[in-house]
């Protein structure tokens, strides 16, 4: 019954989408705002990666809100899971020495790789979000491989998370005070194009986002993994 209704409704919607897709050909046009970003983004922001310049410069306020949503969901997760107090014991086999040693060996390189990703966010693909996710996966590896011996340092993760958020907002406020007076204004010198120290505040903000996202995602994993 439910399946029949679902299929009928989806067929109607598919039909509507099919008729409207005919006016939207694949792979020919670009939006007007995208043209502006592509043509001027290089000179205005100094970042080689146009996606980064959109995320951190043109639409940085959106990104701030998005980071806030991430933060809120971490809080919500903690609130939902915090009330569970039953500590059930599962008999799990301890990881072998090779596995745990390998995990400990891989942990610093993965962290380094994450840091590399978000430091070079304005030059190559990647940035704070991807780097943060990679850092979180390093912590995940430690949780899986070392059987909960090494836990995320709570104070350290909170510190780096708030440091990242604070740096983002403070740089934004400095931008408001300096120069052309809008929030998250790119007030620093743009530097030489396509080098590491270029593009003004973009690398700094992306590093801040990397810290923040990495800490938050690690915290989410920590909350879900704990007691299990």
């Amino acid at each position: 019954m439910r399946k029949c209704i679902g299929i009928i409704l989806l067929i109607i919607i598919a039909w509507g989408i099919l008729t409207s897709l005919q006016t939207m050909p694949f792979g020919v046009s670009r939006a007007k705002v995208a043209n502006h970003y592509i043509n001027n983004g290089k000179d205005e922001t100094g970042a080689a990666n146009i996606v980064t310049s959109v995320v951190i410069n043109y639409r940085a306020f959106d990104t701030l809100g998005e980071v806030t949503v991430l933060f809120l969901s971490a809080i919500g997760l903690g609130a939902v899971l915090a009330t569970i107090k039953t500590r059930e014991k599962r008999d799990t086999e301890k990881a072998s020495l090779i596995l745990s040693t390998g995990c400990r060996f891989l942990f610093p390189p993965i962290i380094l790789f994450g840091a590399y990703i978000f430091i070079h966010g304005h030059l190559t693909p990647g940035g704070g979000f991807q780097g943060g996710a990679i850092i979180a996966s390093a912590f995940l590896l430690m949780y899986l491989g070392c059987h909960g011996e090494k836990r995320l340092n709570d104070r350290c993760s909170t510190f780096s998370e708030s440091l990242g958020g604070l740096a983002f907002v403070i740089i934004g406020l400095i931008g408001l005070a300096v120069g052309t007076h809008y929030f998250l204004n790119n007030f620093m010198p743009l530097g030489k194009f396509n080098t590491l120290l270029s593009a003004g505040v973009i690398p700094i903000i992306y590093i801040a986002i990397g810290f923040k996202v990495g800490a938050e995602l690690s915290k989410i994993i920590d909350l879900l993994m704990e007691e299990s």
């Binding site: 399946k3 050909p25 919500g76 997760l77 996710a133 396509n194």
Partner: protein, 119 residues
């Protein structure tokens, strides 16, 4: 063949979207519903990226001096999807924490049974 080339990405994206919606509509297991949600989300992201695509284009990065601006694909949907993926993870983990909580409380993940037990 040309028509296939024009619409294959859209077909894939909407295929994912429909499968995701159908899963959410029909399945009674809460984790299955969340799996449907994640498939739906992937479909939407794929659709947004394929809308911004330009035939014979390049990635929007000036990594080499020879890359020209006029062939670049649209960066705006990419920036959008980038954040959407991260938010998607946050939403999914929140929903899954609810699932854990529901299981602790009701002892089942079947939505029908949870609904009956609710009062």
């Amino acid at each position: 063949m040309n028509i296939l080339y024009d619409y294959i990405y859209y077909a894939g994206a909407f295929g994912l979207i429909f499968i995701g919606i159908f899963t959410m509509m029909v399945k009674r297991n809460y984790i299955k519903v969340i799996i449907g949600l994640s498939i739906l989300e992937t479909g939407v992201n794929l659709f947004l990226i394929s809308v911004g695509y330009i035939s014979n284009g390049t990635a929007p990065i000036f990594s080499n001096p020879g890359i020209e601006a006029k062939n670049m694909v649209d960066p705006v949907p990419q920036a959008l999807v980038l954040t959407a993926i991260v938010i998607g993870l946050a939403v999914l983990s929140l929903a899954l924490s609810m699932a854990i909580r529901l299981y602790k409380h009701f002892g089942t993940l079947d939505l029908q049974q949870i609904k009956e037990q609710r009062w």
